[in-house]
C-alpha cells in the first residue's frame, strides 16, 4: 500500500505559506485567506484518506511513507527527513488538519477587519506545516527541527499585534521559556542518540532491539533516565507543565483563533505526543522518568484547576483549563503500563488529547465569538448573553458539558478512561484526578453562568449573534465534541499495537459524573444569579484564594530568580569580564589584523613588473624550501 501522497499533507500548507508570505501586500486579503484555507482543506481530505487507509488495514506497523537522507555523517549516523505513519501520527494528522481547517474558516470571519490579514494566514499556514511535520517525523532530529518551527510560528502569532506592547512581551516570554525547555530537549536527543547510535523512531520505539548500557549513572539515576527526563523537559515546556507553564496564560494576547489552534488543540499537546512517541523507551529504560511525568502531570492538573477557579479573563480561564487537561494526559501517560490492559493509560491519554482538541477549540472559538460581540475579555463585564447569542450559547454549553465529563459528550469517555487507568495504578493520584474533575466542572460552569446568565449587564452596543462564517466552524466542532467519544479508540491506538477493548468502568464513571454534577451545582448556586456567596467563600479560603488569583506568585518567583539572583550575581560579573577581558582581547586581535593589513598593502602596488618579481620569488621560495627540507 502506498502512502506517497502524504507528502502533500505537509507541502500544501507550506506552499500556502510561501505564496502568502512572498505575495504579502500584493494578494488581496480575501484571496490569501482562501488560498490558505483551500490548501489546508485538501490536506484535511488527504489526512482523512490516510487515516481510513491506514486503520482499515489490519496491521498497526510503522510505515515510512516518504524518506530522504538529508545529512549523512558516517555509515551509521545520518539525519533523514521523511514521513512516519503509525497509529498516533495518523491520529494527530487528523486532529491537526481538522482543527486547522476549522480555525482557518473561522479566522476568515474573525480577522476580517484586521490589517495584516495575509501575514496572519501566512503564519497560520506555516504553523500547520510545522505541526504536521512534527508529528510525522521519522526521527528525533527532524522532530526537533519542526518543534522549533512550531515554536517560531507560535511566537509570530502570539505577537501578531506587534504594535501592542503586551503582545510583544507575551510572544517573547513564550519563546524564551519554551526555548529554555528545548535546550533540555536537545541535550536529551544528543544523549539518547549517543547511546542508541541512531535518531530513528523505528529503532527507538523497539527497545528490545537497542543495546543500551544502563550501567552509566549520574547522581543516582542512569544516564538514559536523565536523557529521557531532559526530553520530557522539552515536552513540558511546550505543553506548559509546571514549572514551565508561565508563558501560556500570557500567550492569550494572540488572536483568539490562534489560541484555539495553537494554545489549546495542537501545539500544547506536542509534549504529550512526544512522551507517547517515545513511550516504549520510557517504559523499558526509565520508569523513574515516567514517575516524574506522572507527578508533574498530577501536580499541574490540580494547580491549574485551582487557579482557573479564580480568574476573570475568559481566555485565561480557558488557558489554565488547558494546562489542567494536559496535566491529565501526562498523568495518564505517567501511570500507564505497556502490555495489554496495563496500557490503558496510554490509550486514555491520547484519547483525551483527541477529544480535548475538539471541545477546547470550540470553547476558544466560542470565547472569540463572545469577545467579538462584547469587546472585552473580562467576564465581570458580561452577563445574560444567552438572549443575545442563543446559538453561541448552546455551542458553548455543549463544550462545557464535554469538558466537565457529562455523558454522552466526548470528554466523559476519555476522562473515564483516564480515571480508571489512574485508579488502577495509583490511588493518591486518583484522588487528585477526581477532585480536578469536580473543579473542572465548577470553573467551566462558573464561566458559563457568569457569561450567559448572571446579571443583565447593560452594554454600550447590544451584542449580536455571530455571522455564519463564525458559527459554522463552531458547529462542526460541536458535532465532534458530541460524537468523538463514541469512537472505539483502543481499537486503533494502544501502547503495544494490539487492539485494546475498553469499556466504561461504571463505578468510576458514576463517581466522576457525581463530582462533575456537584461542581456544576455549586457553580449554579453561586453564579446563576448574582449573589454574595462566592465572595464569602472566597474570603473563607483567605490566603489560598488570593494566592490563586495571583497564580501562586510563580511569575514573581521567576522574576526574583532571573532578575534578583541570576542577573545580579552571575550576569553582571560575567558582563564585566566579557567587556573588559574578552572584548579587549578581541579588540586587540582586530587591531592587529587591521595593522597587518595596512603594513602589507605595499605589495599591491599596481606595477606589473613588481608583481612579476613577487611571482618568481614565490616560485623560488617554494623550490628552495623543498631543496632545503630534502637535503
Amino acid at each position: 500500500m502506498s502512502f506517497q501522497y502524504t507528502i502533500w499533507i505537509l507541502l500544501l500548507p507550506f506552499i500556502a505559506f510561501v505564496i502568502n508570505g512572498l505575495g504579502s501586500g500584493k494578494i488581496p486579503g480575501k484571496i490569501s485567506g482562501w488560498i490558505a484555507t483551500i490548501a489546508i482543506g485538501i490536506s484535511t481530505f488527504l489526512s482523512y484518506r490516510t487515516a481510513f487507509q491506514y486503520f482499515t488495514s489490519s496491521s498497526r506497523e510503522q510505515v515510512i511513507a516518504v524518506k530522504t537522507t538529508w545529512l549523512r555523517f558516517n555509515d551509521t549516523l545520518q539525519i533523514d527527513l521523511g514521513i512516519l505513519l503509525d497509529p498516533i501520527s495518523v491520529m494527530m494528522l487528523v486532529v491537526i488538519t481538522t482543527v486547522s481547517l476549522v480555525v482557518f474558516l473561522y479566522s476568515q470571519g474573525y480577522m476580517k477587519n484586521e490589517s495584516g490579514y495575509d501575514r496572519y494566514f501566512a503564519f497560520l499556514s506555516l504553523f500547520s506545516f510545522s505541526m504536521l511535520g512534527l508529528v510525522v517525523a521519522t526521527n528525533l532530529f527532524q522532530m526537533y527541527m519542526f518543534w522549533e518551527l512550531v515554536g517560531i510560528s507560535s511566537y509570530l502569532l502570539i505577537g501578531f499585534y506587534y504594535d501592542k506592547p503586551t503582545a510583544v512581551a507575551a510572544a517573547k516570554k513564550a519563546f524564551i521559556v519554551t526555548r529554555f525547555a528545548d535546550l533540555g530537549f536537545l541535550i536529551g536527543i544528543l544523549m539518547v542518540s549517543f547511546y542508541a547510535g541512531t535518531f530513528d523512531f523505528e529503532v527507538l520505539t523497539r527497545p528490545e532491539s537497542l543495546q543500551f548500557s544502563t550501567a552509566a549513572t549520574f547522581m543516582g539515576l542512569s544516564t538514559i533516565t536523565w536523557a529521557l527526563l531532559l526530553i520530557f523537559m522539552g515536552g513540558a515546556g511546550k505543553s506548559a507543565m509546571f514549572p514551565l507553564h508561565i508563558w501560556l496564560p500570557d500567550a492569550m494576547e494572540g488572536p483568539t483563533p490562534v489560541s484555539a489552534l495553537i494554545h489549546a488543540a495542537t501545539m500544547v499537546v506536542a509534549g504529550v505526543f512526544l512522551v507517547a512517541r517515545l513511550f516504549p523507551l520510557y517504559y523499558a529504560y526509565a520508569p523513574t522518568a515516567l514517575e516524574v511525568v506522572a507527578f508533574i502531570g498530577a501536580f499541574t492538573t490540580l494547580f491549574a484547576a485551582v487557579i482557573a477557579c479564580t480568574q476573570y479573563d475568559i481566555k485565561r480561564v480557558l488557558a489554565f483549563s488547558t494546562m489542567s487537561q494536559i496535566g491529565y494526559m501526562m498523568l495518564a501517560l505517567g501511570v500507564s503500563g505497556y502490555e495489554g490492559a496495563d496500557g490503558l493509560g496510554y490509550t486514555a491519554s491520547l484519547f483525551h488529547l483527541f477529544t480535548h482538541a475538539f471541545f477546547k477549540a470550540l470553547l476558544f472559538l466560542g470565547a472569540g465569538a463572545i469577545i467579538h460581540a462584547v469587546h472585552t475579555n473580562d467576564i465581570r463585564e458580561m452577563g445574560g448573553l444567552r438572549k443575545h447569542q442563543p446559538i453561541t450559547h448552546i455551542l458553548f454549553l455543549i463544550a462545557c458539558l464535554a469538558i466537565a465529563g457529562i455523558p454522552p459528550f466526548a470528554g466523559f469517555f476519555s476522562k473515564d478512561e483516564i480515571l480508571s487507568a489512574v485508579f488502577a495504578n495509583h490511588p493518591i493520584y486518583f484522588g487528585i484526578a477526581a477532585l480536578v474533575a469536580g473543579l473542572t466542572a465548577f470553573y467551566m460552569f462558573r464561566l458559563y453562568f457568569i457569561v450567559f446568565w448572571g446579571k443583565a449587564t447593560k452594554y454600550d452596543q447590544v451584542p449580536h449573534e455571530s455571522p455564519a462564517i463564525l458559527l459554522i466552524p463552531m458547529i462542526l466542532l460541536a458535532i465532534g465534541s458530541t460524537l468523538a467519544g463514541f469512537i472505539p479508540f483502543g481499537q486503533f491506538i494502544s501502547s503495544d499495537g494490539l487492539p485494546l477493548a475498553s469499556q466504561i468502568n461504571w463505578p468510576i464513571a458514576i463517581t466522576s459524573v457525581i463530582l462533575a454534577l456537584t461542581g456544576i451545582g455549586i457553580a449554579w448556586k453561586f453564579y446563576k444569579v448574582e449573589s454574595t456567596s462566592p465572595d464569602k467563600v472566597a474570603k473563607s479560603f483567605g490566603t489560598l484564594y488570593t494566592s490563586a488569583t495571583k497564580k501562586f506568585y510563580i511569575d514573581e518567583l521567576y522574576i526574583l530568580i532571573t532578575k534578583g539572583i541570576i542577573f545580579r550575581l552571575v550576569a553582571k560579573p560575567l558582563a564585566w569580564f566579557d567587556r573588559n577581558v574578552i572584548d579587549a582581547f578581541m579588540n586587540l586581535l582586530a587591531a592587529t589584523t587591521n595593522w597587518i593589513s595596512v603594513q602589507i598593502r605595499e605589495f599591491q602596488s599596481g606595477q606589473v613588473q613588481k608583481y612579476a618579481i613577487i611571482f618568481i620569488s614565490g616560485v623560488l621560495i617554494i623550490v628552495l624550501s623543498y631543496i632545503y627540507v630534502n637535503r
Binding site: R72, I596, F615
Partner: protein
C-alpha cells in the same frame, strides 16, 4: 573517426557551432539590429548548456590527446551554467551606447574562451592542456580591455596579458622540464617521481596554474584586473576561469601527480594559509566592491585549496561541490553589482548605504549571496565549506583547519560590512528604485534558488561523490 567518436566531443562541437552561427548571424544584422545578438547568444548558449546534460559516453580521442568521462562532463556543465548566467547578466551593459557596435565581439571572445576551458579540462596531454589554457586566457585579455574608452579597462587588459604571458612562460618552462625528465607529454605515459627535476617542473607548472586560481603569491594581478575590467568579464574571470583551473589541478593532483603527493601537499598547505589570510586582510580594507570581490575570491580560493590538499575522492567531491556553490553565490553578488553599476554607475560600498529601503529585493539577493560566501547555514555556501573542512579534517590537517576557521570568521566581518551598509546604514540619497532587465532578474533568481536549494538537496553531493569515487 566515426560519428560515434565525434560525439564524444559534444561540448566542444556545440560551442564551436554556436560561435560560427553567431558570426554568420552578425554579418546579417543591420546596424540598428546589432542588439539581436544578445538574445541570440543567450539562446544559443542555453542550448549548449542543456545539451551538455544529455547522457554521454566516456572515451579518448586523437590518440589520447582528448579525454572525456562523466566527471569531466560534470565540470564542464557546472562552468557552462556559470557562463550562461554571465551572458544573461551582460545584456543591459552591452546595450549601452559605447558598446553598441561591438556587441557580438564580446560574445565571440567569451565563447572562444569557453572552448579553451573545455579543451583544457578534457586534455590528456600537456600540449593540449597548454593550448586550452592559452585559448582560455587570450580572448579574456581582449575582453578585459573591451571598454577601450576607459583607461582602467585598457590597463586591465594589458596587465592581464603581461602577467598571463609571464605565468605561461614559467608554466611552459616547467612542462619542458617534466617532458625532459619523463620523455612524454601524455598524462597516461608520464611517471612523475620525487626526483629534483620532476619537482622543479611541478613547481613551475603549479605556479602557472596557481596564477589562474589567484593563489598567493601569484595573485597580484587579480585586484587590478578585476577592478579595471568590465564587471561582466570580472565575474567570468572570478568564476569560470578560476573554476576551470581548479578542476584541472584537482584532476591532475590525484592522477598524474598522485605519486608526488608528499611534494605538492606541503606546497598547497603553505599557499592555502597565505591565500586565505592575505586575501582576507586585503578584503577588509576595500571600498570598491569589485576589488572587494576580487580579494574575497582570493580568500575563497584559499578555502578551496583546503579541499584539494586531501587528495581523496571525498576531497575532490568537496572541491567540485564548492565550485558549484561558488558559481551561484559569486555570480549572484556580481549580478547585483552589475545591475547597480549599470543603473547608477556606483561601485563603492558606501554607495550601497540604505539600499534595502529602495531596492529590497536586490539587497536580499546580495545578502544571501554574501552570507553564502561567508558560509552561514542553511545556505549552500555553508555546506560547501562544511564539506571542504570535512575533507581536510579527514586527512588530519587540523592546524590548517583551525587557521581556515579563523579566516572564515574574518571573512564574515567584511561580508557583513556590506550587508550592514545595505540594511542598517542611513543615507540621505540612496540609489533610487529601479527595474533591471528580465534576463538579469532571471539570472539573479536562478542564483538565489541555487543558493537556497543546493545545500538542502543532498543527492547533488552524493552524485558528485559517486562520480569521483568511480573515476579514481
Amino acid at each position: 573517426m566515426s560519428l560515434q567518436e565525434l560525439l564524444l566531443m559534444r561540448h566542444e562541437w556545440t560551442l564551436i557551432g554556436s560561435l560560427l552561427i553567431l558570426l554568420v548571424l552578425e554579418l546579417n544584422f543591420t546596424d540598428e539590429g546589432k542588439t539581436k545578438s544578445i538574445p541570440s547568444a543567450a539562446i544559443l548558449f542555453a542550448l549548449v548548456t542543456l545539451s551538455g546534460f544529455l547522457p554521454s559516453q566516456s572515451g579518448t580521442l586523437f590518440g589520447g590527446m582528448y579525454v572525456t568521462d562523466p566527471l569531466r562532463i560534470l565540470m564542464k556543465n557546472i562552468l557552462n551554467l556559470g557562463v550562461l548566467i554571465v551572458f544573461l547578466q551582460s545584456g543591459s551593459w552591452l546595450r549601452a551606447k559605447n558598446n553598441y557596435n561591438r556587441i557580438t565581439e564580446f560574445y565571440l571572445l567569451m565563447l572562444s574562451s569557453v572552448i579553451g576551458v573545455s579543451f583544457m579540462i578534457s586534455a590528456g596531454n600537456f600540449l593540449m592542456f597548454y593550448l586550452g589554457l592559452e585559448l582560455l586566457t587570450i580572448p579574456i585579455a581582449a575582453a578585459a580591455s573591451y571598454e577601450q574608452y576607459k583607461s582602467k579597462s585598457a590597463e586591465a587588459g594589458i596587465k592581464l596579458i603581461l602577467s598571463a604571458a609571464f605565468a605561461s612562460a614559467l608554466l611552459l618552462f616547467g612542462l619542458s622540464m617534466l617532458y625532459g625528465a619523463t620523455g612524454s607529454m601524455y598524462f597516461s605515459k608520464m611517471i612523475v617521481t620525487a626526483d629534483v627535476l620532476h619537482v622543479l617542473g611541478f613547481v613551475f607548472f603549479f605556479s602557472g596554474l596557481a596564477f589562474k586560481i589567484s593563489v598567493v603569491p601569484f595573485h597580484l594581478w587579480t585586484a587590478d584586473v578585476y577592478e579595471g575590467s568590465p564587471t561582466n568579464v570580472t565575474s567570468y574571470l572570478s568564476v569560470v576561469s578560476k573554476g576551470a583551473a581548479i578542476f584541472v589541478f584537482v584532476l591532475l593532483s590525484v592522477t598524474l601527480f598522485e605519486t608526488i603527493r608528499q611534494v605538492w601537499q606541503p606546497v598547497i598547505y603553505g599557499t592555502a594559509i597565505f591565500t586565505m589570510t592575505i586575501g582576507n586582510l586585503f578584503a577588509i580594507r576595500q571600498q570598491n566592491l569589485k576589488r572587494f570581490l576580487a580579494f574575497s575570491s582570493i580568500a575563497q580560493a584559499g578555502f578551496i585549496l583546503l579541499g584539494v590538499i586531501g587528495g581523496t575522492a571525498l576531497a575532490m567531491a568537496s572541491v567540485i561541490y564548492f565550485v558549484l556553490v561558488y558559481v551561484f553565490s559569486n555570480l549572484a553578488a556580481f549580478g547585483v553589482v552589475i545591475a547597480i553599476e549599470q543603473y547608477s554607475g556606483k561601485i563603492n560600498i558606501n554607495d550601497y548605504n540604505g539600499l534595502y529601503h529602495t531596492n529590497p529585493r536586490l539587497s536580499l539577493a546580495m545578502m544571501l549571496a554574501l552570507f553564502s560566501l561567508a558560509g552561514i547555514p542553511p545556505l549552500a555556501g555553508f555546506f560547501g565549506k562544511f564539506f571542504l573542512f570535512t575533507a581536510a579534517a579527514e586527512s588530519g590537517y587540523y592546524v590548517l583547519l583551525f587557521i581556515a576557521v579563523a579566516n572564515a570568521v574574518v571573512s564574515l566581518y567584511y561580508y557583513l560590512l556590506v550587508v550592514k551598509a545595505m540594511f542598517v546604514n542611513k543615507n540621505e540619497s540612496p540609489i533610487k528604485y529601479f527595474h533591471s532587465d528580465y534576463p538579469t532578474r532571471i539570472a539573479l533568481s536562478a542564483c538565489v534558488v541555487g543558493i537556497l536549494v543546493i545545500g538542502f538537496y543532498s543527492p547533488i553531493f552524493e552524485f558528485i561523490k559517486q562520480l569521483c569515487l568511480s573515476s579514481l
